[in-house]
Symmetry: C2
Amino acid sequence: MAQPLRVVVIGGVAAGPKIAAKVTRLRPDAEVTVVEKGEDISYAGCGLAYHISDVVREQKDLMATPAGVVRDPVFFRNVKNVTVHIRTEALEIDRRSKRVRLRSREEGREWWIAYDKLALATGARAVIPPLTGVNLRNVFVLKDIQNALAIKQFIEKEQPQEVVIVGGGLIGVEMAEALVTKGVLVTMIEMLPQVLIPLDWEMAFQVQKHMTAKGVQVLTSTKADSFEGSDKVQAVIAGDRRIPAEAVVLAVGVRPEVRLAKEAGLEIGPTGAIRVDEYMCTSDSDIYSAGDCAETTNLITGRPTYCPLGSTANKQGRVAAINICGGGERFPGVLESIICKVFDLACGTTGLSERAARALGYDVVTSLVPAADKAHYYPTARTITLKLIANRATCRLLGAQAVGPGDVAKRLDVAATAITAGMTVDQVSKLDLCYAPPYSAAMDNLITAANVLENKIEGNMRGISPMELKRRLDAGEPIVLLDVRTPAEFERGHLPGSIPIPLGALRKRCNELPRDKEIVVYCGSSLRAYEGALILRYAGFENVRVLDGSVVTWPYELVK
Amino acid sequence: MAQPLRVVVIGGVAAGPKIAAKVTRLRPDAEVTVVEKGEDISYAGCGLAYHISDVVREQKDLMATPAGVVRDPVFFRNVKNVTVHIRTEALEIDRRSKRVRLRSREEGREWWIAYDKLALATGARAVIPPLTGVNLRNVFVLKDIQNALAIKQFIEKEQPQEVVIVGGGLIGVEMAEALVTKGVLVTMIEMLPQVLIPLDWEMAFQVQKHMTAKGVQVLTSTKADSFEGSDKVQAVIAGDRRIPAEAVVLAVGVRPEVRLAKEAGLEIGPTGAIRVDEYMCTSDSDIYSAGDCAETTNLITGRPTYCPLGSTANKQGRVAAINICGGGERFPGVLESIICKVFDLACGTTGLSERAARALGYDVVTSLVPAADKAHYYPTARTITLKLIANRATCRLLGAQAVGPGDVAKRLDVAATAITAGMTVDQVSKLDLCYAPPYSAAMDNLITAANVLENKIEGNMRGISPMELKRRLDAGEPIVLLDVRTPAEFERGHLPGSIPIPLGALRKRCNELPRDKEIVVYCGSSLRAYEGALILRYAGFENVRVLDGSVVTWPYELVK
């Protein structure tokens, strides 16, 4: 009788348990062992902020199956036929003898475990910047359940008034919402000029404005230099600012946990994560890796990227498991799709941002379309701003971003699918998406945004981004701003120095406009502005542009 | 100077206004005339039921732009540079002289209007079955604003107790919700064995059950034979049933309005709609057609189909307009995607149903996966049942259906995009969809359903549909039903005659099961049943199947 397949999995949070479970499904006779250095296994790491805010009330909900059974070592033994060692560290991989040295943190016991196939799912660790005072009490990170419990206990016991979050990424903004929900005054410090760096600036700025409206003080282009306090943290020093803080949450990113792989001589990729091929196999054909410790490929650029996400970890884990069992499954890569709830907004991105696409040398064309996410007359309709990024040369969609109180997720997921398939803007504009007034407009946001892109590519519409317009106005260029909305809309707020002529009157009144200057037309969302620009062009005006996204996405001052 | 392009558009509801507006955008010098026989133009025909239920309070909301301007003839003149004749009928097309004879319904005046390009957007008309009593008062259809106002006024004036809806299609189920919302007792009569025929039976049955729970009496396989009453309708006669009715809403479908096209000798397709090529051009190269009067192509089968929807009308109208102006834009076809709100459920389909795919001769494999639409621990998570239909030979996705209180629309739209791109099940399972707990599970419903399909295709999982299981049980076949849920779940309701062994105990207790009989394993959603089947298979049981969709989608009796 053949020896059973011995599989050792290092890491028990997301990819690890997935690998273990899938291996035993495919090879029920396999001896599968999971080694986890922490207390907890198979928990929802992405739900931690929601437990801090009590949106997810019970800690065990983050660790239970949909049927309510907690995924502990007993569950893994009985249901999955998997042995789990918690509080157990993997110290060393002996690739020649195919074994791993383990140490139990409780008993201090050390032993070797043999493998036929090894899977590294060692995950990531939170970056702790080497700043003075970073080890003071009440300086937290949020990476695992124990971190979340520490923050939650601190809030409930100390009822702090002021907390500083360092970092405006996904974890930072989720923590901002969680802390505000718990009644804490939050200051967010972000080194870069914007929060949520995967988004383009004008999209991220909408999120920043919303956070500010919810009471968060957001300081961009601001770097934390040190933490002040004796024993407990009392303030964050950033340049000449001193920001009082009863606690600090460090949310400046994560790094792949690769010590074990590195020491074993496995190849590390240019991103610093464990290099794997599309079968999730490392440079050792008996060692696989998946999840937050593994590198992956950007589907558009074909380049290595590091993109640690629970969704990716699960998919990669499944692929690794199939191949561990002798299959030939591939994981092609990612679009670096992300989505995030920030108070009443959803925001996210998939594929390349405009910034990234330009940096890669693409001839980029974009559309920026704010519109209702459902039939505009349907009472639950909410606005979303959708930005599409395309390659002018091939007309292929490269990226999509969306922000708003409406249904952002649907449009991003459809865009992700279209980008993966290599669809052109024309193909996207013809998609037969499901339509009924409670779910979308007859022309879905994505269809409209694709049509705008097509209008730009065909030369029917010349756009100008809010950033370019602002820069040129600030430089004193003699640009005429034409507001084609109704007088009531104009009264509620318009770009400084605009001329108001409602669209319906424009054909008759266009002689009020100077013919020798560049005219930028805007409205609420750019729909009427596009019509207005066409009317002017027909009337012989030669230099007319439409403000992308118009008033809804204008990130600067409006006057009344 | 060249003559301006003269474009005449017949029909002013959806495709017609779209064509007119787009033509004037591309060719601002064009003389564009829209002719509409009814009172109203450019209204949201898909929102009518929501006006009846007061979800959309104001009639004008259905006729206004997102900025709140009513799209009347004055609006079309001032903003779009389009002439609109309402209450004006097109009587005849003289193709040789390229002119159309019109009659104003008010003045009785007749005149000819010349065209360079003609667009037929004559729409559809509600089918009125030739039954005794069909012309009685209070027998309504719901096709245009005037119909909606008639029904709305009737309800508000007469406050009826009992209304019968004939037809269980999209309009029928929307009307059922609208009438129940207004306090009316509704009976729905459907000739076919199920409501919503584009869905497969077990999916439609979930909708039917929900309607029943909301107080609608749903009579399937029931045909209305006649309407009883003198002056006003009083009852519907269906076989030996007499169903009292103070009003009847006929919702038995629509037919394309093709009289004008037919009389002009234009080609009519096999579906009875106006035949067009992918440029939306009819058999006369100067006449285009779009919207509910035009035929289109099913993207999967390549066959002509009739699929009248507002979303399609808008896309087709844009394509027709571009080509009228000399462009070369194509409309490739549709997936017949539909979605519908039915009380607290959403339901819809895209691509081929299992029934349609089998009828077309595909070797079909399906998955039926009920699961939470968000992280299951997130408080707004709701269930959806997702059914995927694939071609076993090519592993390509052919269709998707979804029903549930959760976010059905997102999964259907992603599936529609994947089907359009010709993606395989494997490609769908690797999609980098956006993940955060408020929007999806780490393994999105679509990813899981694709994985289940893959498991079935690879032979790791053998499924049995609820219908097949029921048929075989009813035939007295000695099938063992194994329920692997917890005792508490078993108590709340299980399939009659099941043996309960919780999944966690199955490895130890599988000897309680007979080895010589077929075993069908089920749980809540099939997740644990799949694990259970693998445990049994490993223990040497050879004939084990998993009940597709398990208890959540079991459409028959459960016992306690």
